[in-house]
């Protein structure tokens, strides 16, 4: 089987801070990580490979330093890594990204065998849209299976697979056919620590670097800013509410006193709540 996993290198958003005065993002020194949701996808891919045989190729679209993320993925055990990097991709929204990535996946297929499954994470922690996976599926005509919690079985001969899919009020049992695109729900597995062999392979493997031309991307108008129908016009921090928070007086008071004051303040503003909580024998 040939499995392709699309990952993204993202800033560790837990560590992004906004400058209190200028409201700009303090991006210096924020470490980059593999989008945590993608690790679940990678682990699922590795498990499928180990179970059914084959290869895992990891692909990312990003600036040159995204190579670090690919090396990490190789260390976890992926067999091959491709970095899709080109200044023409700068400013891509999800539509433009899914275009570039789907072209690259097709090219990977030409060179290394058509992929049977394309995995992506559920969403990214910096974009949070969950749109690129479905976009790739549509463009490559892959069966789209999102929010998959478990791959129950794959029959390599009949090319049929069964998965469990997380829905709002329950779980769907779906039967489908390869090739397909699967987005994996978080928490379904834990990414393994690569063995020495994996680490050596990662250290020695070249990361294939493809520009737009290498990936067979002909229509540059579909990439980057030009290929992005959505446009960010404004980035801002929400202002404080007009009415300021009433700060409880903590000077020269015990915690118990402040707590009592707080409860009184809450009840003063929410008399209905006060009635419900303080009255006797209410249902």
């Amino acid at each position: 089987m040939h499995i392709v996993v699309c990952i993204k290198q993202v800033p560790d958003s837990a560590q992004i801070r906004v400058h209190p005065v200028t409201n700009t993002i303090m991006r210096q020194g924020v470490p980059t990580i593999i989008n945590p949701y993608d690790l679940f996808a990678l682990e699922e891919a590795l498990q499928v490979r180990n179970r059914y045989g084959g290869e895992v190729t990891v692909l990312t679209m990003g600036p040159p330093m995204a190579e670090q993320a690919l090396r990490k993925a190789l260390t976890h055990g992926a067999d091959r890594a491709v970095l899709l990097t080109d200044r023409h991709f700068a400013g891509s929204d999800t539509l433009a990204t899914s275009y570039a990535l789907s072209q690259a996946v097709a090219k990977i297929g030409e060179s290394y065998g058509a992929p049977d499954i394309v995995f992506t994470g559920k969403q990214t922690i910096d974009g949070d849209t969950a749109q690129v996976g479905p976009g790739i599926a549509k463009r490559l005509n892959l069966q789209q299976l999102t929010y998959v919690t478990k791959i129950v079985s794959i029959d390599p001969t009949s090319r049929e697979l069964m998965v469990e899919r997380h829905a709002e009020s329950g779980t769907q049992m779906l039967k489908s056919t390869l090739p397909c695109l699967i987005t994996v729900l978080e928490g379904v597995n834990a990414i393994r620590r690569g063995s020495l062999d994996d680490a050596f392979r990662a250290a020695r493997s070249p990361v294939l670097k493809w520009g737009a031309a290498d990936a067979g991307i002909g229509e540059l108008t579909k990439c980057g800013l030009r290929g992005s129908p959505t446009v960010v016009k404004r980035v801002f921090a929400p202002g404080p509410r007009a009415e300021k928070a009433m700060q409880m007086d903590i000077n020269d008071k015990t915690l118990a006193e402040v707590a009592a004051d707080t409860v009184a303040a809450i009840f003063a503003r929410e008399p209905v709540l006060e009635r419900k909580l303080t009255s006797h024998g209410d249902r």
């Binding site: 210096q28 260390t75 620590r193 063995s195 020495l196 062999d197 050596f200 392979r201 250290a203 020695r204």
Partner: protein, 435 residues
């Protein structure tokens, strides 16, 4: 791809480890380097000052692409009491030479660069991989290492232990003892960011010039310690370190010492308006010559901080680390090229090279200073700074008292504090230790 046998495994990708790995890989040896951090430098903390002379011996053209902050043109030594400092400054345009002698660097970036050089030279570097145990043959010679990754033992002719001051591999294997608290300092530092122009303005620097302040005195509350302030391009590294034994005795918190140092009226204006972006702590070997462990054995050598090769008096460590790594690499290459085995006897070549170099010579020269400072730190770091500060003030203040009276007052203060005998003894002991 299975792992085959290596000529050498280097444990650690810090200064000494990178120097060793690079020098061997460059010579065509099959080198594996294991680093437990996410990348080279992620576990290292240093001021940091780079000594160009030693790096030139390893990578002559490092200035082409190494990330360097500022080249140093001014050095300030300050003796501080709580509200003042008395200092000696040396600044010279001579340091604006074609190949400057010292630079400030930021280790996180510098180590990454150095590590890329190791890879370019053909070394294999595995990060996030910790060597957990030395592998030995029946005779007890080291033949490889086990790691925390699945896959068994990696074999090599020799293991170079560049694992740092609190490295566990060598100590667990009984090759050396854990460093004693009186032989290790705990240093804490912060990086304060401010615009390049502000730094230039504040320190009178042009272009890539840099300045270094090193300070001793009451800032370390009587413990043997040193404060420092280095100018980087867009940031200032400020820190303070004290002997661990001192910290344990006094129950002082090094971050509180750093805070007091930053608030000192001489230091605070230099940091005004800055933004703290990073803080870190690290252990520094301080034992000097007398604390150096056995440096070589059957199938192994130890380099850098793990070997306690740190000249605390001249605050030099990274150059000794680099040089020891280079010499270990050279020695191993020489043994290999004449077809020799990595026996204790053969590897003594490494120590021989160290002995002939500035590394051992400098350490030997100052071998008594650590114990002097340790036993008498209160004296030197609390009493003298206050006396000297008062003496300086007496000299500088103009208030109508006759000068002869003022000079007598100064002399009296010294004698009262230390007695004539004490003063002479301090002078003699210092001179002897220095020489």
């Amino acid at each position: 791809m299975t792992k085959s046998k290596f000529d050498a495994i280097v444990i650690g990708a810090g200064m000494s480890g990178n120097a060793a790995a690079y020098s061997m890989a460059r010579r065509g040896l099959k080198v594996l380097q294991l680093e437990r951090g996410e990348h080279s430098g992620s576990k290292n903390v240093q001021g940091a000052i780079l000594y160009a002379n030693m790096l030139e011996a390893i990578i002559p053209n490092f200035r082409d692409d190494a990330p360097l902050e500022r080249h140093l043109v001014e050095q300030r030594f300050w003796l501080m009491d709580d509200s003042s400092h008395t200092g000696v400054h040396y600044r010279s345009d001579d340091f604006n030479e074609l190949k400057p002698n010292r630079y400030t660097i930021i280790r996180a970036q510098f180590d990454k660069w150095f590590s890329s050089k190791v890879r370019e030279a053909g070394g294999t570097v595995l990060c996030e991989t910790t060597a957990t145990k030395l592998a030995r043959d029946r005779s007890g010679s080291v033949i490889g290492v086990y790691t925390d990754r699945e896959g068994g033992v990696i074999l090599a002719d020799v293991v170079v232990l560049a694992e740092g001051v609190n490295g566990l591999l060598g100590t667990r294997a009984g090759l050396r003892d854990m460093p004693k608290p009186e032989n290790v300092a705990l240093a804490v530092k912060e990086m304060h960011f401010m615009p390049e122009e502000v730094i230039a303005e504040r320190f009178g620097l042009t272009g890539g010039e840099g300045c270094v302040i090193e300070a001793g005195g009451t800032i370390s509350r009587g413990m043997a310690g040193l404060g420092f302030l280095y100018t980087n391009k867009e940031s200032i590294s400020v820190g303070i370190g004290c002997l661990v034994s001192g910290l344990a005795e006094s129950m002082e918190n090094p971050y509180r010492l750093l805070d007091a140092f930053k608030q000192h009226p001489s230091i605070r204006p230099l940091l005004a308006g800055s933004e703290i972006k990073e803080y870190a702590a690290h252990l520094i070997p301080e034992g000097g010559f007398k604390a150096i462990p056995q440096l070589f054995g059957n199938g192994w050598v130890v380099v850098g901080d793990a070997a306690q090769l740190n000249n605390a008096v001249h605050r030099e460590g990274s150059n000794l680390a680099m040089t020891s790594g280079l010499m270990a690499g050279e020695a191993i290459f020489q043994i290999k090229s004449r077809g020799g085995l990595m026996t204790k006897h053969n590897l003594s070549l490494y120590k021989g090279m160290l002995d002939k170099s500035f590394v051992m010579k400098d350490l030997m020269k100052h071998k008594d200073l650590p114990s002097l400072l340790h036993t008498d730190s209160h004296n030197f770091l609390m009493t003298y700074p206050t006396l000297i500060s008062q003496a300086a003030q007496n000299f500088v203040r103009v208030d109508g008292a006759p000068k002869i009276n003022r000079e007598k007052a100064t002399a009296a203060s010294f004698i009262n504090a230390r007695s004539r005998w004490g003063l002479i003894s301090d002078a003699v002991r210092s001179a002897v230790s220095w020489r």
